[in-house]
Amino acid sequence: MTLPADALIRTEGLRLDRGGQRVLWDIDLTLRRGEVVTIVGPNGSGKTTLLRLLIGALVPTAGRLRRAPGLRLGYVPQKLRLDPTLPLTVDRFLGLPRRVPADAAARALQRVGMAGAAGRQVAALSGGQTQRVMLARALLGAPDLLILDEATQGLDQPGEAAFYRLIDEVRRTLGCGVLMVSHDLHVVMSASDRVICLNGHICCEGAPQAVSDAPEYRALFGIGTGGALALYQHAHDHHHDHGHEHDHGHGHDHDHGPAHARPDTDSEGADSEGTVSEGAGFEGAGR
């Protein structure tokens, strides 16, 4: 398996079994510099597991995974889960594992809208503030690939929009690749170059519009024939219960059996331009 020049990570036939059950299978994925890729999928579809495979926290059962030599990863986990017995100021956290100069830390905090927070205790921050501080920490490492797991959890809508603008700016200034995971459909998709729809395997992938029109995606998220409007409404619903554990059901059918045909098995297909869908309402919806 060769790594294309601008590729950061490439996987081929990646598979992970847990307790005799397959959790992820047939994952062919190439992440490139300067590209924002979002993985969407219902709860239990293996999104976080895939991220953990990519950062090396899990060992695949089968398949191949290659990272560009010397690849610097910036990782923002879903939650920090800091034990209350661990006293930790924001600036000390930014210096984990390698200490950073105070002015660099201050700049990184300013960039994520947390200026002046260096002396605060991490445990005293709100969920959204913790996410921003974790992003600042990831940025300080000048990552080649920024990986964010449900990074907008705990952010309100303006905060969320600002967060994605920041990600876009980071991608442009650092030239890094960005991989995000979300089950928040529309905002994240409009902020992405490429969307991967995951449910154990890659159901479909491509430009956001192409994916939102794909029957596999619609089956998975229970979007009927309403196109962009239905997508908007589904996503809009979604916003009001953020911060809770999402039951992603919404009464829709998420059983996406493995027997389902997979239309887009080779990762090269990711480069194809999305077809123009009905209605342009996707972009900016819900802001």
């Binding site: 986990p77 017995t85 006293p87 930790l88 000390r92 984990l96 594992p97 390698r98 002396g119 205790q121």
Partner: protein, 267 residues
């Protein structure tokens, strides 16, 4: 000289306190106090093993503590939480060890000295071994501190930064086993976890950073050893338990003065 054995006791206690301070902080941050119990109770099994095989007690204890620590590290599964399994391991290890000592050891061997320590009986060679062990633990923690801390805050963050959290956990496991082996003579198998947990817990409200907490825990630990040896000398009480009582007293004092210390963003 009268004070010779007291001096040796103080030096032995100092060595254990220096190692237990930072290691104890990591134990409470990682919530592995039960793991410490399982490891230290295995020391009694190690004593039985050493007596039966006629090898040095320290070697037997180190081997048993390390074996149990490695076996139970990262336990937890389909039917039990990790704490349940560690509870099973800790208490079975202790009970089996006591039975084994009763069956194999000569009548002259006092089980109590292994359960509660006999710091006043620390000899010169013991002192050398205890200090070597304590310095090895401190050296290991200092060497890997940043990686250990990152893995403690969040294992995935450590992984993404290029450290294997499992390796850091292995280091913790070895450091704990080593501390159990060197602290057995000082506070005994039953109270080793107390020397890890109580000074660290007492230090928490006084610290704003992990490093400060480790330093304060070490200072409180040293103070507890000093107070404990002095008090046991005055009261003629068993020294190991008196040291732990002194640590508990310091914990209570910190709780009492905490409202005075509380300022703005401390919590």
């Amino acid at each position: 000289m009268l004070d010779d054995f007291l001096l040796r006791a103080a030096l032995a206690g100092l060595a254990v306190a220096l190692a237990a301070g930072p290691l104890g902080c990591l134990v409470v941050w990682r919530r592995i106090a039960y793991f410490g119990d399982a490891t230290s109770h295995a020391a009694i099994l190690g004593v039985a093993l050493a007596l039966a095989l006629q090898i040095p007690v320290l070697a037997g204890v180190l081997a048993a503590a390390l074996a149990v620590a490695l076996a139970v590290s990262g336990l937890g599964g389909r039917y039990y939480g990790a704490d349940t399994l560690l509870g099973v391991a800790a208490h079975s290890g202790l009970a089996l060890g006591l039975v084994a000592i009763a069956l194999t050891a000569p009548a002259s061997v006092s089980v109590e000295s292994f359960l509660f320590g006999e710091i006043l009986a620390v000899g010169r060679s013991d002192l050398v071994v205890i200090w070597l062990g304590a310095l090895a633990i401190l050296g290991g923690l200092a060497w890997r501190w940043s990686a250990l801390l990152t893995a403690t805050v969040n294992p995935e963050l450590a992984q993404a930064a290029g450290f294997d959290p499992r390796r850091e956990q292995l280091l913790m496991t070895c450091a704990l086993a080593l501390l159990v082996a060197v602290a057995l003579k000082v506070v005994g198998a039953l109270l080793i976890t107390a020397m890890l947990v109580i000074p660290a817990a007492a230090a928490r409200p006084l610290a704003r950073s992990p490093e400060a907490m480790a330093l304060i825990a070490t200072a409180l630990s040293v103070a507890a050893v000093g107070l404990g040896i002095w008090a046991s000398w005055r009261l003629d009480s068993p020294t190991g338990p008196t040291i732990v009582s002194a640590a508990a007293g310091l914990f209570v004092v910190v709780q009492a003065v905490r409202p005075v210390l509380r300022r703005g963003s401390w919590f």
